[in-house]
Amino acid sequence: MILEYFWLIVLVGVVIWYIVVTILVARKGFTSLKIMLAELGLKDSD
């Protein structure tokens, strides 16, 4: 039973981590992308 619970905690843990990182990357990654493109010359990236 202990191993089943261990894997349950791992699965739930990685799913929660995945949701948090996806939201974080979606928000901050977009800003990073705009800055990168602006630096490379796309002035109207906004």
Binding site: E4, V10, Y18, T22
Partner: protein
């Protein structure tokens, strides 16, 4: 049998594909030199790095391979993911090899080797990397085609058509925009892929419940399904192989290491590795869980999938409702496109930068260099199409990926460690 609907799921997929193509093609005009084409001008920061690395290293092929491991070994099949997660976190934290590599400002590993061991080592290592890399990638299109034909409920005769469509979409933006297009599309693909995977996982968890799935695993494989050290199902030799391969691939796999090389500086590269490391566990746990769901489902209805590798798409096509299936397929296509584009670019960069170095001797203009790289990406695409149709896949897909990867991982990781830390190598 499939719940896929061309009228509901089809438009979801079409909107995604058009969005990716437009975004990928929009940035092509920013590519002015070979450095922009291969490394996006080395302007990648941590969030973009995470999205790009995670999207690159998760494709349909990874998902099918890892679902197959879950289907055949239960949670013990996620051992390579645990090894990769730990290896990536430790290497990111310590900067072992990746710090000196990024500090030197090279484009590829062989370029770094040349500074230590001379031109011949650069050329030879480039050749070994490309052979291992292309063979490894050789089954990607085939697996993508298999996944889509199964989930769409199409006859096997449509496989070639599916492979060609995937290749054409990816090749168009990779050829024209290089790493810049790959980064922009990787960002979009990471979000779509994550949404699709999370939807599918939560739905399967809700539909079959944890106790039912784990009880069935216990009945089928016993305790070995939860512990790779127990019984003869997985085995200590395979665990040892997983650990060695994890360290070697995190240090030297061109598509992984290219995100460190494209990072703003070595500190950013290390942080990208640390922050992305849990994703290397996720890319095993989630598909393996879906594979375990497939094992239960097919056992309960008394039918086995045509091949174990097709268990995942067959399962998802039946258990996911219309609409959600469209999101998942768009997500899987996203995962596959980002993987294919990054891999095509990674191997073309080694061919151009290292194997062709004696030909161009860095004297070609940027315009000629970019054109040469575009031709190389197109040739790699043609190779993938031919190899994918010709090679008959036998045994575990993950083992195929490990064996072909080992062609270069074993030698390159040894040379890299020596190049970084063996003083007599100067």
């Amino acid at each position: 049998m499939t719940n896929f609907s061309w009228f509901i799921d089809g438009p979801i997929i079409l909107i995604y594909i058009i969005g990716t193509l437009v975004a990928g093609l929009m940035v092509r005009k920013l590519v002015r030199g070979v450095d922009d084409y291969l490394l996006a001008g080395r302007k990648v920061d941590i969030y973009l790095g995470i999205a790009s690395l995670a999207a690159t290293e998760f494709g349909i092929v990874t998902c099918m391979a890892n679902a197959e491991l879950g289907y055949k070994y239960g949670f013990a099949g996620t051992t390579p993911g645990v090894a990769l997660f730990l290896a990536m976190y430790i290497i990111g934290k310590t900067g072992f090899c990746i710090k000196p590599l990024r500090d030197r400002g090279v484009v590829t590993l062989p370029e770094f080797f040349e500074r230590k061991f001379g031109k011949k080592v650069r050329w030879a290592s480039g050749l070994v990397i490309v052979i291992g890399g292309l063979l490894n990638m050789g089954v990607f299109l085939r697996m993508g085609g298999d996944f889509l034909t199964t989930i769409f409920g199409l006859p096997p005769g449509y496989l070639e058509l599916m492979m060609t469509i995937i290749l054409l979409i990816v090749a168009v933006y990779t050829i024209l925009g290089g790493m810049l297009s790959v980064l922009v599309t990787d960002y979009m693909q990471f979000i779509v892929m994550s949404a699709g995977l999370l939807f599918a996982t939560i739905l399967v968890f809700y539909k079959f419940d944890w106790t039912t799935l784990t009880n069935h695993l216990n009945q089928t494989y016993g305790r070995a399904a939860f512990n790779p050290f127990e019984g003869n199902t997985y085995g200590i030799d395979r665990i040892f192989l997983d650990i060695l391969l994890a360290v070697a691939s995190i240090l030297t796999w061109q598509t992984t290491i290219s995100r460190v090389l494209a990072a703003k500086d070595s500190r950013t590269g290390q942080r990208i590795y640390q922050a992305t490391s849990p994703f290397f566990l996720i890319r095993f746990i989630i598909p393996a869980f879906l594979g375990i769901g497939a094992l239960y489902y097919f056992s309960s209805i008394g039918v086995q999938p045509e091949r174990e590798i097709l268990a995942l798409p067959s399962f998802l096509a039946i258990v996911l409702p219309t609409g959600i299936l469209g999101i998942l397929i768009a997500g899987m296509l996203a995962a596959d496109m980002s993987t294919n584009s990054s891999y095509m670019l990674a191997w073309s960069s080694v061919i151009y930068n290292d194997i062709m170095e004696p030909i161009h001797r860095r004297k070609w203009t940027d315009k000629v260099g970019i054109r040469a790289n575009r031709i190389l990406v197109a040739l790699i695409g043609i190779f993938l199409l031919i190899y994918g149709l010709w090679y008959p896949m036998k045994g575990d897909l993950w083992v195929y990926l490990q064996v072909t990867g080992t062609i270069y991982l074993s030698s390159m990781s040894t040379i890299l460690i020596a190049a970084c830390y063996w003083k007599k190598s100067e």
